[in-house]
Amino acid sequence: MPSDPSSAIAVGDLVVDRGRKPVLRGVSTRIAAGSVTGLLGPSGSGKTTFIRAVVGTQKVKSGTVEVLGHPAGSKPLRKRLAYVTQDASIYPDLSVKANVAYFAALYGRGRHEAMVAIERVGMGDHADRLAGNLSGGQKTRTSLACALVIEPEVLVLDEPTVGLDPVIREELWDQFRTLAREGATLLVSSHVMDEADRCDRLLLLREGRFIADDTPADLRAVTGTENLEAAFLHLIRDLEKAD
């Protein structure tokens, strides 16, 4: 697939098997730079596998994944992409500050930048607490701060808002929008449909295939439905009829 400078992420006919089970059955998409793309689908549909393929930690069977014009996971990307895993990948025996400062230091950034990132996720009051003693949502936010601190060009988040209270979820989505406005490309997986409206583009994954790759507005128009949940149900029923 030729590199296209306007798309930050380009996936071509990606096939991934885990064990003998096919997880992704030939998916393709292009994700525009400076946008927020939502990756939606029921659990077990292959969202995490797709995300891991984009960040380059997933063994793939065939197909191409390019990020910023480089093969996924290649060395030049390791300074430009940040990945927030589904379970908070932080050190429980270190403080919030020490966790964020560690990831900051790997990218040559200092304590000041670490504190800015901690404030950004609303963890300023908890900076000295041990990460292991935090609540689930606070751990998620700490993990997010570890990614924000490097000001990545591409930010990939696997279900970042699970278990968060609505106020913090709202704040995080505002931040995702701000980051995109500043030029970053975000890929965010979620199984909460009401978050889909905050995205520029939606990828709906079902049983290892994309059944939609469109803007929220177009999806509503095509399916003739008002809310996105109904739109997706509509698409799924159409597919089932076709089978």
């Binding site: 960040v55 930690t57 997933q58 390791r78 908070a88 990948s89 050190y91 025996d93 230091a105 041990l130």
Partner: protein, 245 residues
Amino acid sequence: MSLRITFITAGRILRQLLADHRTVGLVLAVPALIIALISAIMDDAPQVFDRTGLILLAAFPFMLMFMITSITLLRERTGGTLERLMTTPTGKLDLVAGYALAFGAAAAAQTTVAATVAFAFLGLDATGPVWAVFLICIVTALFGMALGLFVSAFATTEFQAIQFMPVFVVPQLFLCGLIWPADQMAGWLQGVSDALPLTYAVKALNEVQVNPEVTSAMWGDLAIVFAAVLVATVLGAATLRRRTN
């Protein structure tokens, strides 16, 4: 490989270790206490204690490094931080070298306390220089670390990691000459003993025990242990996969 990232990684690992005060206390105090116990048991046979105590000085950091490396690395693997690190500029060798630096420092601290207690208060005697004992202990500790790193790839839980102790560590301790001189074992056991790296750490210590100057035989034995460190490290680093299923 980046020296900067290696130091940052070592700093993070040490910070994790130091945050756990109880572990720090156990790491520093237990070897000295056990050697004191052994010295009391062997009160009537100071020559036997000279031999056993010296080997124990190297055996403790070896066991300790094996345990803490296999468990901390297993936590990195299962906690998702390893996968995250693999998407950062951290190279596999940066990570492994970071572990070696951090736990090497821990081994040095442990050896310092245990050796000070043994030489100053328990009457442990070695003919050769103390720095040679120290050097052998550190290299042996690094072998424990490298072995722990490698083994952590085959454990999926901390419980399993602990079960690898009797498999990888205990036979080496029994066959290295700690409980029975290797040259008095059955022929086939001597063969097994000769194949185990810890045996060469004990041989090196025996050289320091009986010779006032550092001998070339000691350097040769130490080189074998060091080679084992390198082999185990390379094998261990190979188990750190950037891409997994």
